[in-house]
């Protein structure tokens, strides 16, 4: 959790040089920006696109923007979107097929066509979510060529958290408001005694090269202390999941009245899976043009909360909404561990804030665990 002694200090007035350095290297800059009363993660052009002086307040089923009393560029917690939007896009073409005299030929996608993304303002939990998706799409029996191409080219500039939202619980999920690894550059924004600067840590050669083009001074003891105080401020979180024994509590609770009770509240809207930075389920659909000579296969996000998700001939496996919620939460907190060696939740809290009825994964996990403990006692 401590800051590297090799950290440098970038003054707020020099911050736009980072944008120039990224553009010079051909990166498409993706970062936080204000749109329709939310801070979204999208392509940005300059430091002016960042949500200066804007924060957010989040609670179960609530997300509100607030004016901060300072001019922080990254003074919000996290918006609904994450790196997933770019590495595993909501919709992407799998391939194109063209009819021939004998049959049809398949034209593969050029996954390398897009400019590399520089994620400016990814949160530490977002990096962990990317690494969790890496285990699905890269370090698996088969490699997703498109995902791997985009991931390989991308650059991560993480901005450590200066506060936690009411919905955050990364600490209990083995995470931290300060990124430990997985970044090219890590920034901590400090506003103190009239000064406004970023303490930057280097995570890769590419990160070091980029920082050469950004005016900076070696970080002094006082800068590092201030940065440490900033991330320490985010460590106290209101929510938590006690993961001790959770994997077993979940698998032992597949048959439980808890899911019937959830069914009364959950609307199966799928918001939680769409905002979740690790959810990776998809569907594939085939379309043809009007001539019928060109067919395209498209992959798009899907959700285990839809009835269609588990449809086979004869009906869906998950008919009740309770069974769909069970599928989701047991996957995140238990079955993911069987499949990939770690939980599928990073504690970003997005699913809590963006649930229209405020269903809280930390609360539901606690109920499952307490019920199981009660049965044993």
């Amino acid at each position: 959790m401590s800051f590297s002694k090799q950290s440098v200090c970038i003054d707020r007035t020099d911050f736009s040089a980072l944008f120039d350095a990224l553009k010079e290297r051909g990166y498409k800059i993706v970062g936080p920006t204000l749109r329709k009363n939310a801070i979204v993660f999208d392509e940005i052009d300059s430091v002016d696109d960042l949500p200066e002086g804007i924060g957010d307040e989040q609670e179960a089923g609530q997300y509100r923007l607030v004016k901060r009393d300072d001019a922080a560029l990254f003074g919000y917690n996290q918006g609904p979107q994450s790196c997933k939007k770019f590495l595993f896009p909501e919709k992407s073409k799998v391939w194109t097929a063209e009819k021939t005299h004998e049959g049809y030929d398949i034209v593969e996608e050029d996954h390398d066509a897009d400019a590399p993304c520089a994620f400016l303002g990814a949160r530490p939990c977002d990096i962990r979510a990317v690494e969790i998706q890496d285990n699905v799409f890269i370090h698996n029996d088969y490699m997703d060529v498109g995902y791997t191409t985009r991931r390989k080219k991308s650059l991560i500039i993480v901005v450590n958290c200066g506060q936690s939202a009411h919905t955050c619980f990364c600490v209990s999920m083995d995470g931290s408001p300060k990124a430990e690894s997985g970044y090219d550059i890590a920034l901590t924004e400090v506003i103190k005694n009239g000064a406004h600067y970023f303490v930057a840590e280097i995570g890769s050669d590419e990160g070091a090269d980029i920082l050469k083009d950004v005016p900076s001074t070696p970080a002094e003891e006082s800068h590092i202390e201030a940065a440490q105080a900033t991330v320490d401020n985010a460590k106290d979180q209101e929510r938590a999941i006690d993961m001790d024994g959770m994997k077993e509590y979940m698998t032992q609770s597949l048959h439980s009245p808890i899911w019937d009770e959830i069914e009364e509240r959950c609307m199966a809207c799928a918001n939680c899976t769409l905002v979740c930075p690790t959810c990776f389920c998809s569907k594939v659909e085939e379309t043809t043009d009007l001539t019928g000579n060109i067919a395209e296969r498209w992959r798009s996000w899907d959700s285990c909360f839809t009835r269609d998700f588990s449809y086979m001939h004869g009906g869906s496996s998950h008919i009740s909404i309770g069974s769909r919620y069970r599928q989701w939460i047991t996957h995140k907190l238990s079955h993911w561990i069987d499949q990939f060696g770690e939980a599928g939740c990073v504690g970003c809290g997005r699913c809590i804030a963006w649930c229209p009825v405020g269903i809280d994964i930390t609360e539901e996990a606690r109920k499952v665990a307490e019920r199981k403990k009660g049965e044993v006692a």
Partner: protein
């Protein structure tokens, strides 16, 4: 499990084949098993395609402009010239597959998934219980055992269908019935209105009637989940353990390579951990609804 980003930078993506791209195959023969159920035989359209699979595995079959579905391999694995699939028309893609004619082109990806435990079955008696379209996925086992007859003990097939008109491979069922190196019991749930002098009733009744050596028998079952559940129970009544019975699971599947998440079945992905499971691996889940 998490891998440092620097390792991802080293991956040579250019050399990776896109596992979602099917290879072209041509239909060389097709026939109707019964209305709404067809069998197709396909061969590679070019040098890239291969006709290899292990009994129990499946391929993703693509038809132009319609889509892709997982279908079990049902031919003799030692035939490396062609692949055979039996398809029931239950949706858009399977309907298109049932309409395929000679020389039509399809796309194939695979084979995928786990296989029936033929090694473990060596030296043992094998009881196969199939229901409806559960017969095609187990047919390669029958071919394998009959070709390697000395390596296995007694072979019994109990096959059930809804009605006599829902039977696939009728000529073969007759042929197997006439052989003296295997027992073949075919039964239908309902024969009302048919000329049928064969067995009536559920497969479980006929499992009960078998005389099995539980210490030296391997059970294999494939069919609707509810049928497998009771078939396994009937085999367990003979003294077979959950480790000695294998089932083949089915779930919605879009990719077959563990990426789409659709076939997640508690701790498993049916596409890569299944479709064939020892019953001991899924027994707990069979007792729970809507998993």
């Amino acid at each position: 499990m998490t891998v440092a980003k620097k390792d991802i930078k080293k991956i040579n993506v250019e050399d990776q084949k896109d596992p979602m791209v099917p290879l072209p195959f041509v239909v060389v023969d097709s026939w109707e098993e019964y209305p709404g159920c067809n069998t197709i035989v396909v061969k590679p359209a070019d040098e890239r395609g291969e006709c290899v699979f292990k009994p129990g595995q499946f391929h993703m079959i693509h038809t132009f402009g319609v889509g892709e579905v997982p279908i079990s391999n049902c031919s003799d694995e030692s035939d490396t010239d062609s692949l055979t699939f039996t398809i029931m028309d239950v949706g858009e893609v399977s309907a298109a597959l049932c309409n395929l004619k000679k020389d039509d082109q399809i796309g194939l990806r695979g084979p995928y998934g786990s296989a029936w435990p033929l090694e473990k079955a060596k030296g043992k008696d094998v009881v196969i219980v199939s229901g409806g379209l559960g017969l095609p996925p187990v047919r390669p086992i029958i071919y394998h055992i009959l070709k390697n007859r000395d390596a296995y003990g007694k072979l019994t097939l109990i096959h059930g269908a809804r009605t006599p008109s829902h039977l696939v491979y009728t000529d073969e069922l007759k042929e197997w019935d006439e052989r003296d190196d295997m027992e073949c019991i075919v039964t239908v749930d309902d024969a009302y209105g048919y000329e049928w002098d064969g067995n009536l009733g559920l497969v479980t009744e006929y499992i009960k009637g078998l005389s099995l050596d539980p210490k030296n028998t391997l059970g294999i079952t494939c069919g609707p989940e509810i049928m497998m559940k009771f078939a396994v129970a009937a085999l367990q009544e003979h003294g077979l353990t959950s480790d000695d019975v294998y089932v083949s699971m089915e779930r919605n599947m879009k990719c077959a390579i563990g990426h789409c998440g659709r076939c997640q079945y508690a701790p498993y992905f049916v596409c890569k951990d299944g479709p064939v499971f020892p019953f001991s691996g899924v027994e707990r889940l069979f007792a729970i609804k809507e998993v």
